[in-house]
């Protein structure tokens, strides 16, 4: 059993710091700002992840047909940078949540599972609704889809495809 602790005057020690304003309560805005950053990071991460997964579905469907896909094509065409940004985003998001919510219980496995499932479902819906054709005509994404198209022409076709 640990030895009985000697009586320490916490009240005097801490209250003197509070009264002299050596320690101050962080303003509410600090925590609101933390939550906003977390939400923005997650929206950003979610969008990137949905986009990456959607591109994956798009490449699979477009290039080889869903049952005849070739790993090689996928590896060449996959926009790996989005994956790297997504992973960095996940790490950043978790760090922000842990920093700002150090005292409440969070079921991270549940949150991450829901997050991954919703990414796959959203990406599938985007692909199913053919929204890639719409994105391909819009300004920010036009170039990306054009590059994809160019690469598509350079890579030799496999027999039985198209």
């Amino acid at each position: 059993m640990p030895k009985k602790s000697k009586k320490i005057n916490f009240e005097k020690e801490i209250m003197s710091k509070i009264i002299s304003e050596k320690i101050k309560i962080k303003p509410k805005i600090y925590f609101i700002f933390g939550s906003v950053i977390t939400i923005i990071s997650f929206i950003f991460l979610f969008s990137i992840s949905v986009f990456s997964t959607n591109i994956l579905f798009f490449i699979l469907k477009r290039r080889c047909g869903i049952y005849q896909w070739q790993i090689q094509n996928l590896l060449i065409n996959f926009p790996w940078w989005t994956l790297i940004i997504s992973i960095l985003g996940i790490v950043l998001g978790i760090l922000i949540i842990k920093k700002n919510n150090f005292s409440y219980k969070k079921n991270f496995i549940f949150i991450i599972s829901i997050f991954i499932i919703s990414i796959i479902i959203s990406a599938f819906i985007i692909n199913y609704l053919n929204l890639n054709h719409f994105f391909a005509r819009q300004r920010p994404m036009k170039r990306f889809y054009q590059q994809l198209e160019l690469r598509d022409k350079k890579i030799p076709r496999f027999r039985g495809v198209y």
Partner: protein, 183 residues
Amino acid sequence: MTPIHDLSDEKLVLKIRTQNKELFSFIIKRYQDKLLRYALYLCQDENQAADIVQESFIKSYINLNSFDTKRKFSSWIYRIVHNEAMNALRGTHKQFSLDEDFEIDSGVNLENEMLQKELKEHISLCFTKMPIIYREPLSLYFLEEKSYEEISDILKLPVSTVGTRINRAKILMKKICQKNQKK
């Protein structure tokens, strides 16, 4: 108007935030002994425990605006002490390992009244020999009289895991005590 002494922790926190920061002294009075005892069970060193508690009070005051007053303040502040203690233990590499070769000797009579006083001290000694993952929920449940739900909030573990750990801790405690008694 309700006197300060009768206010709940959560209402007191609201007052500290909005009206009078000096009321934090009531929080210190309410929790200093409990938190010190809890920290002492975790780190086994009175000076380190005092540092942990002091740091926890300071952290809780600084972050008081992040506390959700719909939740239990005690779970929140215990969680802060837990985090501080874990950081301190990580820093000093102070971990109490468990000898896995314990044997249960059912012939030892733990209920014997003659031995009660001696056993109390003996049990306390056994307690310190338990690994921290069992010592912590056990101390919160039996010594701090927290519910499974509160322990779950403090340790960020599912309620079922808390139950399992407490049950295992009881078995382990018995084994350790019986082994020590034989010596």
